[in-house]
């Protein structure tokens, strides 16, 4: 995790610092420009004017993993792609989050039974924070996923556990 985490002794009251850090983190989750298949169209729709992901501070789609906090795995992950996906995830700076969007990313979806080349769930490759089911999910559902991620971020603490 980030440098500041885990350097304070347990018992030291850091709730206000926590609150400020989490507030700034969860209001600026920059996603990576990373759409693999058709769910990416819904992700683009979420980023466009009508649904406007900028209202959550997540509108800046970064073109490099170094600047991104969130990887929205929007689409089918093949075995060939899994290697690249893992590498991109490892290039992202801490703290990093992953949303598995759509049936394909969660479990293989329509390729679950007969797909010879599809990873059955992206959680085998990278740790997933929020699952957004749907085929594809509505843009509102992706916004809900980002709000669930914000809820998760707001429970973080920098104190030693």
């Amino acid at each position: 995790m980030a440098l500041i985490e885990g350097i304070f002794e347990p018992g030291l009251v850091v709730t206000t610092v926590d609150w400020v850090l989490n507030w700034s983190r969860k209001r600026s989750i920059f996603p990576m420009t990373f759409g693999i298949a058709c769910c990416a169209i819904e992700m683009i729709a979420t980023g466009a004017a009508r649904f406007d992901i900028d209202r959550f501070g997540s509108g800046a789609f970064r073109a490099t993993p170094r600047q991104a906090d969130l990887m929205i795995v929007a689409g089918t992950v093949t075995f060939k792609m899994a290697e690249r996906l893992r590498r991109l995830w490892e290039q992202m700076a801490e703290p990093r989050y992953v949303i598995a969007m759509g049936a394909c990313a969660i479990s293989g979806g329509p390729y679950h039974v007969h797909g010879y080349h599809v990873v059955k769930g992206v959680d085998q490759v990278v740790p997933v924070d929020v699952y957004v089911p749907g085929c594809p999910p509505r843009p509102e559902a992706l916004l809900e996923g980002i709000m669930r991620l914000q809820d998760k971020i707001s429970t973080h603490t920098i104190a030693k556990r």
Partner: protein
């Protein structure tokens, strides 16, 4: 030209290569011997009355019961406005056929795909590598007797 004209023309010039032909029906085509494919392809492309300048698709069909793989080359002529297809049958155990990428450059990626998913080897192809699957993938997935892998680089196929 109508399909029957094309077939007659083809049989006139390449009688030794054409095995059989279907002129009517939804899919007029000629079955060509594998050895004569390159000559027939060049003939279809360059002959002024045919001028098949566009290769639309190469389809590979696996027939385990007949123990062969069928390749269908769909060609159309953009200038003369007629369409035709030629088929080649190769052995399933050792599928080899001459590449037509020198005649139609578009065939290069189609042949790579047929090699990747069906395992047909195209002789004298400039760059015959897998195009869709990873380089170290075992087997050819669209064969009827293909067995799903158990694990690929630590990723379980059925977790």
């Amino acid at each position: 030209m109508t399909p029957s004209d094309i077939i007659a023309f083809l049989q006139q010039h390449h009688a030794e290569s054409v095995v059989s032909a279907v002129a009517d029906g939804p899919y007029p085509h000629a079955l060509v011997k594998a050895e004569g494919l390159a000559a027939v392809a060049a003939f279809l492309k360059t002959q002024p009355r045919l001028r098949f300048d566009l290769l639309r698709c190469i389809s590979a069909i696996d027939w385990p019961a007949k123990n062969n793989i069928e390749l269908a080359y769909d060609v159309i002529s953009t200038s003369l406005g007629h369409a035709f297809a030629i088929k080649v049958v190769v052995d399933r155990a050792d599928p080899r056929v001459e590449s037509v990428s020198t005649v139609w450059p578009a065939a290069e990626w189609h042949e790579r795909e047929a090699f990747d998913l069906m395992g047909v080897e195209f002789l004298h192809h400039p760059d015959l590598r897998r195009i869709l699957m990873p380089e170290d993938w075992p087997g050819h997935p669209l064969r009827k007797d293909y067995q799903d892998i158990v694990e690929y680089r630590g990723l379980k196929f059925n977790p």
